[in-house]
């Protein structure tokens, strides 16, 4: 089986800083993979490289076996790569319903339709509404996005990413700013995606990481330090000193 | 050859003196003050009036022009501009165009629609030879003034806390205030300096560029080109841009007079395509 997403010796430099240092990582179909590491380790940078927001200095990225290293971001998205951002990237002036409807329409390549009114695309709107319901945004789907409380905006961020029905979903600290009790729900919803979807999660909340991920990679100073199952990583002494700290398991 | 280069530099420097105030208000304060030229015009007219009606020396007029425009700037800033900092760029455009219109009409009313003429003191007239190249004295003077302004601004912005406090206030005024920066004073001072520089530029430029009520509109494009090509995050950017554009314009007109203004626009577009965020920019790719 070819991995759904695979990087080969990926390197990214910002001037003198090597933010991503020779990273080779594989995600299989249905993976539940977490990427952890100290602040500034290069996790977000790595995701930016995967999605095409940044261009790597060297190395290759393959999506379903196809080399996409030089492809622009929107093409990779169209191939089924979807993500959330560490800092919300939403449409402040649109409503959540419009936002998600837009994502659904684009997925079906209706985005270039210049004549039929959006309101005429009933199926897509209904699908968007049901996604919003699932994310408890049903009662605010007609608000202006910028008026939503931060927590709700966080949820919308994930809802948009999911509306694209991705094959690979990259989540950059999705739970940041979400209240404790809702954090697990978010990941439950992510878990509820079709089993074939591969998920890569960045998160500093170790409870979440340990309950969600099957495998964990640890990134330190741009390079992969360890990769393994949850237990292996949790008990790795190097990970404990570099990242978790001593009282990690209380 | 060298004369053309020198003229180009002088012309560029004149553009810089005129535009550097805008580089401050638009570039650093992020306020699209299209009325910049109106402040320049104020300085120019003040010089004309002081010289022609009161016989004040040209050299004395320069600081007066600065102060006069700075004063108008600070008054307008306190009464009108400050309400518009957090409005959209379009509102700022509409507002400042409105101001230009009013300024044009008012000057027309008080001073008439005709060209005003500044008569330079004799020591600034004529030419001298430097290393065998004949150079215009007045142009040399402009280069000198420009260097002075450049150094002053660069020092104030890069080596004092004022510069970073200003940029902080522009980046996020709300948080800047919350962290103790008196945003309104910082803005008022900056705006006054920007307007004052415009006034100084107007006084210096009147002789070469001419001065009539349409001045703010006629030269708006040049100011904007300089600031855009230079980039809005520094003073060095507009400085370099002024030099390039000045030399390109003068050389273009000398060697290919038939092309007219083509050269400066083509160079502008070329530079912007090469560096969309300006010559000196801190912004990365989108």
């Amino acid at each position: 089986m070819t991995p759904i997403l695979e990087t080969d010796s990926l390197v990214c430099r910002f001037g003198g800083l090597v933010a991503t240092n020779d990273v080779s990582l594989k995600l299989n179909e249905g993976a539940r993979h977490a990427l952890i590491g100290p602040n500034g380790a290069g996790k977000t940078t790595f995701i930016n490289l995967l999605t095409g927001a940044l261009k790597p200095t060297s190395g290759t990225i393959r999506l379903e076996g196809v080399d996409v290293t030089r492809e622009p971001a929107h093409k990779r998205a169209a191939r089924g790569m979807s993500r959330t951002f560490q800092i919300n990237q939403l449409f402040a002036d649109l409503t959540p319903l419009e936002t998600v409807t837009f994502a659904v329409l684009e997925r079906q390549n209706h985005g270039i339709d210049p004549f039929r009114s959006v309101a005429g695309h009933r199926a897509e709107i209904d699908e968007a509404a049901s996604i919003l319901e699932r994310f408890r945004l049903g009662d605010v789907m007609d608000w202006k996005t910028s008026d939503l409380p931060y927590g709700k905006q966080r949820l919308l961020e994930i809802a948009v990413a999911i509306a694209a029905k991705p094959k690979v979903l990259l989540l950059d600290e999705p739970a940041a700013g979400v209240p404790e009790e809702e954090r697990h729900e978010i990941l439950d919803m992510v878990n509820g995606l079709p089993k074939s979807v591969a998920v890569l999660l960045i998160e500093h909340d170790m409870d979440l990481v340990f309950s969600f991920a099957e495998r964990i990679s640890v990134l330190v100073q741009g390079a992969l330090l360890v990769e393994g199952t949850t237990e292996e990583v949790a008990n790795d002494p190097a990970v404990r000193t570099a990242y978790l700290g001593e009282d990690a398991d209380e | 050859m060298l004369t053309i280069l020198f003229d180009g530099i002088a012309y560029g420097m004149l553009l810089f003196v005129l535009a550097c105030g805008l580089a401050v208000t638009l570039g650093l304060m992020n306020f699209v003050n299209l009325a910049h030229g109106a402040f320049a015009m104020a300085g120019g007219y003040l010089t004309v009036v002081l010289m022609n009606s009161y016989g004040v020396s040209f050299f004395l007029c320069l600081p007066f022009a600065f102060l006069f425009s700075a004063l108008i700037g600070v008054v307008l800033e306190r009464t009108l501009y400050r309400h518009l900092y957090d409005r959209s760029h379009l509102d700022q455009v509409l507002f400042s165009v409105g101001l230009i219109f009013m300024a044009i009409s008012a000057v027309d009313f008080f001073m008439g629609a005709r060209q005003q003429i500044v008569t330079l003191p004799d020591i600034l007239r004529g030419r001298i030879e430097i290393f065998g190249v004949p150079v215009g004295v007045y142009r040399l003077f402009i280069i000198f003034m420009c260097a002075l302004i450049m150094v002053g601004l660069q020092y104030a912005l890069a080596y004092t806390r004022f510069g970073s406090r200003l940029r902080a206030a522009v980046d996020d005024g709300r948080v800047a205030r919350g962290l103790g920066i008196n945003v309104s004073i910082v803005f008022a001072v900056t705006f006054a300096v920007g307007s004052g520089l415009a006034g100084l530029g107007g006084a210096l430029g009147a002789d070469i560029l001419g001065l009539d009520p349409t001045f703010p509109l006629r030269f708006m494009i040049y100011f904007l080109i300089v600031v855009t090509v230079g980039g809005t995050s520094s003073i060095t950017g507009p400085f370099v841009a002024s030099l390039i554009l000045g030399i390109a314009d003068v050389a273009g007109k000398y060697y290919f007079p038939a092309l007219g203004s083509f050269v400066i626009y083509a160079v502008t577009i070329g530079l912007l395509l090469w560096r969309p965020y300006g010559l000196v920019s801190k912004e990365g790719a989108r």
Binding site: F14, G37, N39, K152, P179, G245 | L179
Partner: protein, 241 residues
């Protein structure tokens, strides 16, 4: 110990919208307070109102014996408020070091000291504000507030996005400065249990007013309270309702 901050019936919001409907609480000098509550209950609004960047309607904010409710925003930092905004709001066109020095006030916290606390920042000191990782921005926001040498630190979810090891370190530092240097702090945090161990007092906000106030220790022991006001519940409160 003397009283540093007393908030009385504070009503505030954004423009015409009222978010805080009457908040009252007290804080002694050298004390730390955990500010808890669900999403959208007004924690940030309370912090922002103390800083002065919301629309003040009525009530009193007595800081060090003086009512500052109408004091201009920019003067409050000089009085001793140090603010870490929820969204960090790093000045993007300033370098890391300029971010620290632009607003700094003289005192015991100096560049050396904050760099010692966050070595990561020292390594990145020439980066622009927008060229930092999320966690680095968070560190910078805290460091920036410390450079104000405040008497009261207002920390709005300061631990968000920090690696566990940094969280521990930061909490340790906060603990030390509060207990040893007499600084006070108000800390907003989503994870109640994590913060209650480290603070002296706690208040819980709901719909813009204080519904619980006690010693942190007591709240930590009060499972019923924790789960009914902070635990799992259906649907977030709508604003201003």
């Amino acid at each position: 110990m003397s009283e540093l901050l007393r908030v009385e019936e504070l009503v505030a919001g954004y423009g015409p919208a009222v978010v805080l409907t009457g908040v009252s609480f007290k804080l002694e000098e050298g004390e730390s307070l955990a500010l808890l509550g669900r999403n959208g209950t007004g924690k940030t609004t309370l912090i922002n109102s103390l800083v002065g960047v919301t629309t003040y309607k009525s009530g009193r904010i007595v800081f060090d014996g003086k009512d500052i409710a109408r004091t201009p925003v920019e003067s409050r930092a000089a009085l001793g408020l140090g603010w870490v905004p929820q969204e960090r709001n790093i000045f993007r066109s300033l370098s890391v070091e300029e971010n620290l020095t632009a607003t700094a006030r003289p005192g015991t916290w100096t560049l050396e000291r904050v760099y010692e606390l966050f070595p990561r920042l020292a390594e990145r000191k020439t980066n622009m504000g927008n060229q930092l990782s999320g966690g680095e921005q968070q560190m910078l926001a805290v460091a920036r507030a410390l450079m104000l040498n405040p008497r009261l630190l207002l920390l709005d979810e300061p631990l968000e996005g920090l690696a566990p090891i940094i969280v521990d370190e930061l909490m340790g530092v906060l603990h030390r400065v509060v207990s040893e240097e007499g600084l006070s702090a108000i800390i907003v945090e989503q994870k109640a249990r994590k913060i209650l161990n480290e603070t002296d007092k706690a208040i819980i906000l709901d719909r813009g007013s204080v519904i619980h106030e006690s010693a942190s220790r007591d709240l930590l022991a009060d499972d019923a309270m924790l789960s009914s006001h902070l635990g799992v519940a259906q649907g977030a409160a709508r604003p201003g309702a």
